[in-house]
């Protein structure tokens, strides 16, 4: 039931706010995600287009993630169409 209620979010991170205790930003992203969800996994980690990652979360997890340090935005997935 938890899995089916999940939808994809794109999480924007302020990389400049990464604590010094993390050696790599992906570790920090992972820790941030784990603080909001035990089971969510990353779909993609972005380095150039944005700083952040995409993942599947429940609405509650998404809401919780918004308040983690360094999280700028947790934006829902959007569908685009060909023109």
């Amino acid at each position: 039931a938890e899995v089916s209620s999940r939808s994809t979010y794109i999480v924007h991170m302020a990389k400049s706010e990464m604590p010094a205790s993390f050696q790599h930003h992906t570790h920090w992203y992972d820790a941030s995600l784990k603080s909001a969800s035990d089971s969510a996994e990353m779909l993609y980690t972005y380095s150039n287009a944005i700083h952040g990652f995409s993942t599947q979360l429940t609405p509650e997890e998404a809401e919780m993630l918004k308040f983690q340090p360094g999280v700028l935005f947790v934006l829902p997935e959007l569908k685009y169409e060909l023109h």
Partner: protein, 658 residues
């Protein structure tokens, strides 16, 4: 494409564009439905080694090996994690989990941008000629982000992320996702990062025209492209039993060369259905007993145009007349229907319907005339092309320009027929389709040509060159037309005008922009620090002591927004711009034309002298209301031009009252 190189003057001016290394070092990344690598348009004959700057790869997957890439198609990747997370695992019996294009759209757009020269191209003999992309020496990298179930933002963002890493020079995206603020729109966000790396991003404006405020991809760091027609048509005449003839268009090709449908009983779909929407020829809506052996007239809308033909055919009909309604006006889009069919404009459709409703035994015949070129006027703005004003930032005029996007022939996937319908078992090397999806890669390819000729130019300089040299009038002097109204089009329809790549090669002056200019623009929009940080990927604080204005973004066009009832006492809007000399030394003088005598436009100074290349000179434009405006006046338009006698550096002006 078999006509646009001629239509754009590329054929006659080949020598102006370099065949040098710089031209073949330009890499165009195309985010779309993937690629059909077997297309002759990806032949790499005559191309040198893959550019040293290229860091991408050719990913393997369903029906796609790394050998699919060559010196033309230098990269191919696919992004499906977001798609699969939402819709479940890809069914590889229905679509390839690889860069392979099962749809055709991605092959069409990528070959339009930079396909190699292919002689003897046509679709069933229609639009015959030598097909080529705009930048025949540029390299193509395909990024598959669109699948049967759509294109998801997490995949698009990753493709942009990867394309930046791969070192593409131009990004072509013929897709859109509605209208959201820039920091919520993955295309705008990704495009910002690409722009920071010197990549030009060309996007389709959308097909939601002719409604106003219907644009997608309106961020100022994106080049937004609307669609116009070519001077080519595919006439298919409808002859009625009363002796009257009506013109339409079609890409139908039967087995015989002299294709025609003889005089046949004719019926309106709305009278051959029990459904209230029977006129639309929706699936299963026609009564076979009433349709069998007849030509059926269907109204356009709701379902796909080509699907209406299959519905008629399935019900036993032998032909179809596709009728435009008010939404499409007189715009005729040709389709490769599976049965003899022709599409007619609204005016003709009304006359045909009056015959159908008044004659007890109506009959009709369809005669297919093939391909005709030299159609005038052309270009005209396509009715479907999305229109301004810009709903996100009204002070930035969009679209930026129009380019060919109606009935464009380009490469196609071997996995699908030209209609894209499952029942269409025909396979073609080239297909003819329409949309701003088709105009966008024209500009992507032209931008690649300019990048090859002027490697030092920024993306903003390249866009400026394309915009300031675009034309807004025919050779006769008449203004460009909008097919939706039959009247002159406005900057909200055509932006700066129709692209003219030969003039763009030597624009004289450009309006350049840096990353800081765009950051200042975000400050002017009162974006929060968080919003700016998410776009810029670094901490950027707007200077509270500084006065930011959207009006000062060094954009090559002017969108002026005034309040209704404003008078000269209350409204003087000032805009500042800076021109960079990219030509010889010279003195440019300004002229302003506009259609509203109650607005006074003043340029200061009226003359700018440039002594050397890369010299910059600034000017201001003031818009003052000199009298009371009638409340019905919503928009007025004008044009500002700098000229040294050889170059004309033109900017459109759109003034709106709200």
């Amino acid at each position: 494409t078999t006509r646009t190189p001629e239509f754009l003057g590329l054929d006659q001016n080949n020598e102006l564009f370099p065949e040098s290394q710089s031209a073949s070092d330009v890499i165009i990344g195309v985010l779309d439905t993937g690629v059909w690598p077997e297309s002759k348009s990806f032949d790499d004959s005559g191309l040198g080694p893959v550019p040293a700057s290229w860091k991408g790869t050719c990913e393997v997957g369903t029906n796609f090996s790394s050998s699919a890439c060559n010196r033309k198609l230098i990269g191919a990747r696919y992004f499906s994690k977001g798609y699969e997370a939402t819709l479940g695992p890809i069914d590889t019996s229905k679509e390839s989990k690889s860069p392979r294009d099962d749809d055709g759209h991605g092959t069409h757009t990528s070959t339009t941008a930079a396909g190699s020269v292919v002689t003897g191209a046509s679709l069933f003999g229609y639009a015959p000629g030598t097909a080529r992309g705009m930048a025949t020496r540029a390299r193509i990298a395909a990024y598959k982000v669109c699948w049967l179930g759509g294109c998801f933002s997490s995949d698009i963002l990753m493709a942009i992320d990867q394309a930046i890493d791969d070192n593409v020079n131009v990004l072509s995206m013929s897709l859109g996702g509605g209208m959201s603020d820039y920091f919520r729109d993955s295309v705008a966000i990704g495009a910002f990062s690409a722009m920071e790396k010197g990549i030009l991003i060309s996007c389709s404006a959308g097909n939601a025209g002719p409604s106003a405020y219907s644009l997608s991809n309106s961020a100022p760091w994106i080049t937004t492209v609307g669609a116009g027609t070519l001077d080519r048509d595919f006439p298919a005449f409808l002859s009625l039993g009363n002796g009257k003839n009506f013109s339409g268009v079609s890409l139908y090709r039967g087995n015989s060369e002299a294709t025609a449908l003889e005089m046949t009983p004719f019926i309106y779909a709305g009278n051959a259905s029990n459904s209230t929407s029977g006129n639309l020829c929706m699936m299963g809506s026609l009564i076979p007993e009433k349709v069998k052996g007849k030509i059926v007239m269907c109204d356009r809308g709701v379902n796909a145009r080509v699907q209406k033909g299959t519905v008629v055919k399935a019900a036993g009909g032998v032909g179809m007349v596709l009728s435009n309604t008010g939404a499409n006006g007189e715009e005729l889009v040709a389709d490769a229907h599976l049965l003899p069919a022709t599409a007619v404009g609204q005016k003709n459709a009304d006359l045909i319907k009056s015959y159908l409703f008044s004659d007890p035994n109506p009959t009709a015949a369809i005669l297919f005339e093939g391909t005709k070129v030299g159609i005038e006027p052309s270009p005209v703005v396509a009715a479907f092309s999305s229109r301004g004003p810009n709903s996100i930032t009204p002070d930035i005029l969009k679209p930026d320009m129009v380019a060919p996007g109606v009935n464009i022939l380009a490469g196609w996937s071997g996995a699908v027929g030209p209609t894209g319908l499952a029942v269409d078992s025909r396979r073609v090397a080239f297909n003819i389709i329409s949309g701003t999806s088709m105009s966008c890669p024209h500009v992507s390819g032209l931008a690649a040509l300019l990048k090859g000729a002027h490697p030092e130019w920024s993306p903003a300089a390249i866009r400026s060159a394309l915009m300031t040299t675009a034309y807004t009038a025919y050779k006769s002097g008449q203004k460009l037309q909008d097919v939706a109204t039959g009247k002159p089009s406005t900057p909200f329809d055509h932006g700066a005008g129709h692209v003219d790549p030969v003039s763009a090669l030597n624009p004289g002056l450009v309006y350049d922009l840096t990353v800081d200019d765009y950051l200042n623009f975000l400050c002017a929009l009162n974006y929060t620090e968080t919003e700016i940080t998410s776009l810029a990927k670094r901490k950027f604080t707007c200077d509270e002591s500084k006065s930011y204005s959207v009006r000062d973004l060094n954009y090559p066009s002017f969108a002026v927004n005034l309040e209704t009832g404003s008078s000269s006492k209350s409204t003087v809007s000032k805009y500042s711009r800076t021109l960079t000399n990219v030509g010889p030394a010279g003195t440019y003088k300004v002229t302003v034309t506009q259609d509203n005598p109650n607005v006074k436009i003043t340029v200061e100074p009226e003359s700018l002298s440039f002594a050397a290349a890369n010299e910059k000179k600034s000017y201001t434009v003031s818009f003052a209301v000199t009298g009371s405006l009638p409340t019905s006046t919503l928009n007025s338009f004008g044009r500002l031009e700098w000229s040294d006698g050889k170059h004309i550096v033109g900017s459109p002006i759109a003034i709106s009252w709200s």
